[in-house]
């Protein structure tokens, strides 16, 4: 029996663009535009998409690091956006984040001890006397020795710093962790170590992850379900297997075709899109992908496709936002290259 730990409803995050003499609002960057999804307890949901599609913004909005413009974020049965500042500070104990840049995510003037102690102090996790043992335990959990406790961030490598970041997040016993491109800045061998650590922690501590990444290889490794975003909208959401083996949205297909294959002789059809991602200030009408989609019709320019599921073609949890899932699948529609 799976329970939904986090539900996101109609989340919108617009960033105002100000200009003119009086700093009036001219327009908005529609970074995240009306997305709805849920994460089950204990699972890993990945958000993928190219730069600027709103994946990180979604993570930050859920944590209220940026106040969302509108929508509802229900965590563990409580609407986070309706909490006041004090209540939210308490609630943050259950919801942690691990950042992308291990060099920027730790205060350069604090030792590991201070970093971990501060986390526990803020949330009042343990009485003072017991904190030392807990710190040693945390370091052990993330694979660092107790001798590292009094060291400063500049004495560590990127991978070690990321482990400290993980230890800091774990220090308050969270239920869910948002991993915002958490392994993107690490080199591949260290990436694997950190990913394995994250998976082990998930199993041991029953954590739920919202994993934000642009690296499809990493996503394939760690996810239970995958959510694909394009220009602030969800284009497809499915369990990992369906998404990678049976993508339905033309954008997802393009994205997957870009995964490099470790075989120089492999012939693989690569779909190359024309043009750039349109501006999120004035996103295209209708389906946001229509300007670059090889299947686009006039209907796509006007009608916004909803996330939907076709029982014959797709798995139970598989949804895609395209008007022509069936037609493309049957070959009735051919790409116009």
């Amino acid at each position: 029996m799976t329970t939904e730990l986090l539900q996101v409803h109609n989340l919108k995050q617009y960033f105002p663009i100000k200009g003119g003499i009086f700093g009036r609002k001219i327009n908005d960057v529609k970074a995240v535009d009306d997305i709805t999804f849920a994460i089950n307890e204990g699972e890993t949901l990945s958000i993928v998409g190219e730069s600027g599609c709103g994946k990180s913004t979604t993570g930050r909005a859920i944590l209220r690091l940026d106040e969302p413009t509108s929508g509802e974020v229900t965590f563990d049965g409580e609407d986070l956006l309706s909490l006041n500042k004090k209540e939210m500070q308490k609630k943050r104990k259950d919801l942690q984040i691990i950042f992308q840049d291990p060099y920027a995510s730790i205060n350069p003037r604090q030792t590991v001890r201070q970093v971990l102690n501060e986390a526990m102090e803020i949330q009042n996790v343990l009485p003072k006397e017991e904190r030392y043992d807990r710190m040693i335990e945390l370091l052990e959990t993330v694979g660092l020795g107790p001798d590292k406790l009094d060291r400063f961030p500049h004495e560590f490598s990127g991978g070690q710093r990321q482990r400290i970041g993980i230890a800091r997040a774990l220090a308050v016993d969270p239920k869910m962790i948002v991993c915002d491109e958490s392994v993107s800045a690490l080199d591949v061998s260290v990436q694997a170590q950190v990913l394995n650590l994250l998976q082990k922690l998930q199993k041991d501590l029953n954590l739920t992850y919202l994993f934000i990444s642009h690296d499809l290889g990493v996503v394939r490794h760690i996810s239970d379900r995958v959510l694909v975003m394009y220009l602030g909208k969800i284009v497809e959401i499915a369990d990992k297997k369906s998404l990678f083996d049976n993508p339905k949205h033309p954008y997802t297909k393009t994205l997957l075709s870009a995964i490099p294959v470790p075989d120089p002789n492999a012939k693989k059809e690569q779909i190359v899109l024309k043009g750039d991602v349109p501006s999120p200030i004035d996103p295209p009408t209708g389906c946001r992908f229509h300007t670059r989609c090889p299947f686009a019709t006039d209907r796509c320019k006007e009608e916004v496709p909803e996330l939907r599921q076709n029982e014959n073609l797709m798995g139970e949890q598989h949804q895609a936002a395209c008007h022509y899932i069936e037609e493309i699948e049957s070959g009735e529609m051919q790409p116009k290259y």
């Binding site: 930050r60 944590l63 690091l65 939210m88 500070q89 308490k90 609630k91 943050r92 104990k93 919801l95 942690q96 984040i97 950042f99 992308q100 840049d101 920027a104 995510s105 730790i106 205060n107 350069p108 003037r109 030792t111 501060e118 986390a119 803020i122 949330q123 030392y132 043992d133 040693i136 107790p146 001798d147 406790l149 009094d150 060291r151 400063f152 500049h154 004495e155 970041g165 800091r168 308050v172």
Partner: protein, 298 residues
Amino acid sequence: MAETSVKTQQAETKPPSPQLENMKKVYKKLKKNKTAMVGGILILFFIIVSIIGPVLTPFDPDAQDYTNRLASPNADNWFGTDHHGRDIFTRIIHGTSITLYIGFSSVLLGSVAGTVIGIVSGYYGKKIDAILMRSMDVLLAFPGILLALAIVSILGGSLQNVIIAVAVFSIPVFARIVRGSTLAVKKLEYVDAVRALGASDFRIIFRHILPNIMSPIIVQATLRMATAILAASGLSFLGLGAQPPTPEWGAILSQGRNYMWDDPHYALFPGLAIVVVVLAFNLFGDGLRDALDPKTKG
């Protein structure tokens, strides 16, 4: 048991803190910069003089000797005497502590107030930012000395009021610098990380932002010392600051002005003292700025 052994081991092999290491690096860079070192040594010299100087001087700064009025520099009176026959050298030595006191306290007041305004403005942003920074712009719009003059004329001329006036006109400079640095630091991920942990604004500001914006504040404070000393002397010169017979340099200079043609030494030496101390702080401040800038190679 095992735990205690770990603890003692840590105490022994405690690595140097980044602050300490950073300070060493800054000092190394500073040592290579000759003009900055000259400035630094001069500042040190003035500080030492202000502490032990008054004990060593043979004369009383206020002792009048009408048989020896307006004497030119000689073996007894190195800088000559003034129109009351007081030894100018002694008076300048005694004035050093007053000058440094005015400089330090006004810069301290100004930098603390400016830092608070700058951090609040940069951290909270929006309306608070707009209101605070526009009022800082108002202060900045006045030429510094004119503003100080206005404040002193409202409060009345005294040493204390000069300090307040000079502090007030230093506030906007600090506020602007601190606001800019705050904006930069507040966007860093570690600030987001502690915010995500549920830290209060107070903790974020004092534990995470302030320690990381100290270097521009320190540089500005050093440079501001020069401006503050100059402004305070200027006010005393105009008769609005330290009142005679206080041996304040600006005040001595002001009195010496009346005898400029016949006895130039009277105005020359207090003037020189002001020039040297201001130059020292400027040189040292400039050097400090270069040394604290991580982009310059040491």
